[in-house]
Amino acid sequence: MLSVREVTTAYQGLVAISAVSIEVQKGEIVCVAGANGAGKSTLLKSIAGAERPRAGSVTFDGKRLDGLAQHHITATGIAYVPENRRLFPRLSVRDNLRLGSYLYRGEANREGPLDLVFQLFPRLSERLEQRAETLSGGEQQMLAIGRALMTRPRLLMLDEPSQGIMPKLVDEIFQAVKRIRDAGMTVLIVEQRMAECLEIADRAYILQTGRVLMQGPSAEIKGNPDVRKAYLGL
């Protein structure tokens, strides 16, 4: 479904990821793990069009994405939830969700995915009139995922969804990711919390200083002695 080949992205001459290749198949949950600064966020930005890769290619269902403007990439069916969520803070929860369906504004059933969003995150439905900025960190993450789902993605990309969230909600969000996959979507998730991420993912990649260090099915990665020592603290 998504094929990233030999992508190199640099910021002002500093190479953040170098010749990174990953594949995501339809219906998978794929986890990209690694330490801070390994290039995980840059990888997602390069796919979403928030950063322009210097070399390599990104293909989504046979369509070349690298070089496309970010809003066009969203329209191809990739929803990207960035690390800092980028909600519209002074707009209401309802308006944030409604903006998610902007691409479908001509359709009668534009808010179709809303049922799924409320099923996953019932607390959003209780806070519809509240400004997004008044939500807790966890609720803001839920809203960011909800807004992304409103764009009717085939591929959902999440950057560190657990960041700045209390542990109880982290679990809720990871459970939601599984249910999103069960609803027919594919998920690419970037995380520092490798243990939780491997728990729900089918396959994983480990990035280190901008390169793919290791890849394979989650169980295999989890069982690797080096990974257990370096990343899982076992």
């Binding site: 069009g49 928030a50 403007a69 970010q70 809003h71 969203t74 329209a75 929803a79 990207y80 939830v81 960035p82 980028r86 909600l87 519209f88 803070p89 002074r90 707009l91 308006d95 409604r98 903006l99 998610g100 902007y102 691409l103 504004r105 807004r147 992304a148 409103m150 764009t151």
Partner: protein
């Protein structure tokens, strides 16, 4: 000074104030949307007045009818100015603020120069328009018809703008872009398109104001300068970037101007506006409705 004189000048001040609000709202809209001050705003007004003048002179279209055409022309101009000038000014690698100021300031000078070149520096007017020079009398108070019409158009325009921003998808996209232009691509919105339409809308609103102004004010290449100054005061009073602050700011400016004219000699009628402006800057720098 009789009570009648006072009521008379407050009423004219209110009408003029609503028109000031309409002149200023485009400026506030664009600033609120993208933190860019359009220093050519007065020249937009000037051009709208000329459009109205030429449509009247060559095609005998009354300003009442040509107002939508002036608005449409200025919509195109506003969008073009964003797409051809401001968009590139915003990409500056350093001193973006300065580059934007000089870009629109330079545009103002170019527009004024071109107006002098093609339209000459002569004072023009739209004589014998349907409303021009006519008044209506309400309970002994005389209200000039062009200003009365202008005030009604201003109220309608603000009402329309309110509905547009709060009830339509594009209005919501405008608000979202204003909040975080870098985030709208996440929901598939092209920020450049929103910016261009924002500039177009700002242009259309000042275009509407220009058509009305043409019925009772002389038209010449520099006409925008004094009104632009009042527009900046209006926007600062109302709160920079607040669209409805511009509405309230306009009314305050109109009333203060009328009151000053009652007390001071007519040549000093602007003194009051700037005094109130200074007062607001000292006491409440974010303006009456600003949220900064």
């Amino acid at each position: 000074m009789t009570a009648e004189t006072i009521i008379q000048s407050l009423a004219s001040g209110l009408l003029m104030g609503l028109l000031y609000g309409l002149i200023a709202v485009g400026l506030a809209l664009i600033f609120g949307l993208m933190d860019v001050v359009n220093f050519a705003h007065g020249e937009f007004l000037m051009l709208a007045m000329y459009v109205t003048f030429f449509l009247f002179t060559f095609f005998a279209i009354d300003p009442l009818l040509s107002a939508p055409l002036a608005a449409a022309a200025l919509f195109v101009l506003g969008a073009a100015v964003y797409l051809l000038i401001v968009r590139f000014a915003m990409r500056a690698k350093a001193n973006v603020g300065m580059v934007q100021i000089f870009a629109t300031f330079g545009l103002a000078i170019v527009m004024r120069g071109l107006a002098q070149l093609f339209f000459t520096a002569d004072y023009r007017s739209v004589p014998n328009s349907w409303l021009g020079g006519k008044t209506v009398s309400v309970a002994g108070i005389y209200l000039p018809q062009p200003q009365l019409f202008g005030a009604l158009v201003a109220i309608a325009a603000f009402g329309g703008l309110y509905l547009f921003i709060n009830r339509t998808d594009f209005g919501r996209a405008l608000e979202a872009t204003r909040e975080d232009p870098g985030a709208v691509a996440l929901v598939g919105i092209d920020k450049n398109r929103v910016f261009a339409l924002g500039w177009g809308l700002g242009g259309a609103l000042v275009g509407l104001a220009g058509a009305i102004m043409a019925t009772f004010f002389y038209i010449y290449p520099d006409v925008g300068a004094s009104f632009a100054l009042i527009a900046y005061v209006t926007v600062a009073l109302g709160g920079f970037g607040s669209v409805f602050g511009a509405f309230a700011g306009g009314i305050v400016v109109g009333l203060v101007e009328a009151t000053t004219a009652l007390i001071l000699p007519p040549s000093l009628k602007s003194v009051g506006i700037y005094a109130v402006y200074l007062l607001v800057v000292f006491i409440r720098p974010r303006g009456l409705f600003g949220s900064m």
